[in-house]
Symmetry: C3
Subunit: 136 residues, 3 copies
């Protein structure tokens, strides 16, 4: 059986944000065994799974991605939407905008240290929409 | 129900290419609700989702990836297939060779600015094969 | 039908490791048509698909990722678990901890040069757990 729901995350500041509980609160009852697929409908923000405990990991992730993809490179052509825009597109393809997570015994079967991150790469990204599809 | 089809994309120059319409033209009728899974059967090209409007984004993406992973690094060992080969492998793992996209009301449920990119990282990559699996 | 199994990979040294056969040996019989979903339950190791022939590719991949994400950057805050830890988190989000692979005629339908890699980003990562879900 396949069920699907679409929900909106409120705007957050640029950075990496733990959204596991927000995602869970928007899901229907999960099947005994299955998969949850999450799809972020944007091109300047991403979804990833990473460490759910120390907030310093999220701060360092933002720093690392800013080091990887610099702003204000004079070789960029796509500059009309702000200096954070083209780097945000590139970072999005590095992290990806989609996740698939196993469901076991009606719960997400992630590791104890794993959480779902919203990676907001724009300074003013606004609300972000997710399509959640459950197969089970 | 699961249906599966395999199709070939014609050779394109090195760079990022919008292939949403090419993918759609190779799919069977889509179910009311489901998932489309795309799998590129190669290790020096990738699939990603990014901005579908301004071609400058694709040009800048190619520039950014070339900056991230340099060619002709004297520390590379895998050099027999050309200077673009090892960087192409690394770029492929950064973007990934697989995508899963929700299907809603018989259509891909992507954001209005989202398109499917073929990331061709070789100078002469040739034809590229995709396996498309529809669950619904 | 959905079947699911969880298995453990033995500890490996830091680096990129071809694990296709190890994964296959832990799977149940595969359906005629379907998808295999793999989920690594960790935040400092990743799964990716890349070249299955020349071991130099794996060596160069490790070198490239070490160049991309440097250790011992004085701007990192998350440093208590060792100099390889924060870089391992970032590399994990670059590669991703999940893969979905098409199943055709009871076999994984990968390209002839494709293999499944375990990307071990810690110096002493220990055993790694994978949840494998088969839809078909």
């Amino acid at each position: 059986m396949i069920t699907q729901t679409e929900f909106t995350l409120p705007a957050v500041p640029r950075g990496f944000h733990l959204i596991t509980n927000q995602v869970l609160s928007n899901l229907p009852d999960l099947p005994e065994t299955g998969l949850l697929h999450l799809f972020l409908k944007h091109t300047s923000a991403a979804l990833t799974i990473n460490e759910n405990a120390d907030p310093d990991v999220r701060t360092d992730m933002a720093y690392i991605f800013d080091q990887l993809i610099r702003e204000n490179d004079s070789n960029y052509s796509h500059i009309l939407e702000g200096s954070d825009d083209m780097p945000a597109h590139a970072k999005t393809s590095l992290c990806g905008n989609t996740l698939t997570i196993p469901i076991t015994h009606h719960h997400l079967n992630m590791g104890v240290w794993q959480g779902i991150y919203l990676c907001e790469f724009r300074c003013h990204g606004g609300e972000r929409k997710i399509v959640a599809t459950v197969i089970g």
